[in-house]
Symmetry: none
DNA sequence: ACAAATATTCTAGAACC
DNA sequence: GGTTCTAGAATATTTGT
């Protein structure tokens, strides 16, 4: 019996990492399955005709009246996030109908086959600690807020207030700097264009610009190249 | 010749597609700002007291009654997705209150500063600095030694960390923007100087510049004035 | 108690329109 | 640029030993 289940599962999840069959399904799946099966709430959430998907007919009522009784929230979006975490997919369009191969009417035992996603990082619980936080020095030196590490709730609170203020100030200054940068760019683009006109309209004699020596023209070209580089970043 | 033409286009295109103030903000921002300002719907969505954030008091009613009149849907989650796309952040918890530095009561013109975020724009909000398990444990050890409101200390600590990260990112971007601004300025100053030399050395005959008509000289003077105004701020 | 697993929240990616 | 569906990431809570 157990062997059969494991075999079947191995076939289905051939490309993924192996998994161990759970003794009891996650409570989210149990609660949701019970909810869908429950006849009194079929006007809010129910199976489709074949019992292969379930449909949320009234998301507002589900969120307001049912979710809080099962979970610690009343947000439809949190419910959907959980469904996606367990691999459910919304089917078709226009209504909140979800499907999972192992989520079917009357087949409660199948829930054990459903795996929560993103559990793949449970392999090395402590080896991550060693090196990953070494280079926070770079951005530290930019901020005046890094001078001391607060050791109490009160100082943390004060620092938070200050950080928020600094943050707002930085946003404003950044916006203003970007604005000036762009004004500069526009101004220069216009100016460059007008100079180009002057240069091109200047009379040429014997293949030489009358009043613009070679070095000036080279300057102009370098300027154009620099402008091009800068404008692509600003 | 072709080079200069391309150059001009590069400038103009860059200017219009990046940080230059748009003529009209995206309709989403205009509609949302109008919606928040509208007094009759203040029981559903309104400014906070200071006019620095807005609060959705009744998400269900907003989705059902208001969203369809402005957009082509009636999903609260789609509305939230748009807010995030434009850089709004949910503030605090427990209610749908959103903030953006450039989204304020009565300041409709500020909307032009708001940039829609795209895939390649993942630098500012994202940070390389990862929370490590060690740091987490430090916080927990700290909080468990606190006699009063340990969870508050922990969340304050998390927020503190996030603020510092954002602060550092902002500083980096600000420094980079200022640097570009200065490079632009230097480039332009040099260019301006060389042009001035050319202009002043040009022969004058009967009180008239030989090859620089009056309008060009006026342009040049206006340009210089604009430049000096900008350089004093940058 | 501790670390892992799960749950909840908020934000972003990506496909499609 | 907008809408939809799914996933990432941070935080909070529960569970297993």
């Amino acid at each position: 019996m157990n062997k059969e289940v494991c075999m079947k599962h191995a076939c289905v999840k051939s490309a993924s990492s192996e998994h161990v069959k759970r003794a009891t399904p996650p409570s989210f799946l149990l609660k949701t399955h019970t909810l869908v099966e429950d006849p009194p709430t079929n006007d809010i959430i129910s199976w489709n005709d074949q019992g292969t998907t379930f449909i949320v007919w009234r998301p507002v009522e589900l969120a307001r009246d049912l979710l809080p009784t099962l979970f610690k929230h009343s947000n439809f979006s949190s419910f959907v996030r959980q469904l996606n975490t367990y691999g459910f997919r919304k089917v078709a369009s226009g209504r909140w109908e979800f499907h999972h191969n192992m989520f079917r009417r009357g087949e409660r035992q199948l829930l054990c086959e459903i795996q929560r996603r993103k559990a793949w990082d449970s392999k090395l619980p402590q080896s991550l600690v060693k090196t990953t936080m070494k280079e926070s020095n770079d951005h530290q030196r930019f901020s005046s807020s890094m001078s001391s590490s607060p050791s109490s709730y009160v100082s943390l609170s004060y620092e938070n207030k200050r950080l928020k203020r600094e943050n707002g100030d930085l946003c404003v200054e950044l916006a203003s700097t970007k604005k000036k940068c762009n004004e500069l760019l526009n101004l220069v683009a216009f100016h460059l264009n007008s100079k180009k006109m002057v240069v091109e309209q200047r009379p040429k004699l014997f293949g030489v610009w009358l009043d613009l020596p070679q070095e000036k023209r080279r300057e102009h070209e370098e300027f154009s190249e620099n402008m091009s580089a800068l404008s692509s970043q600003c």
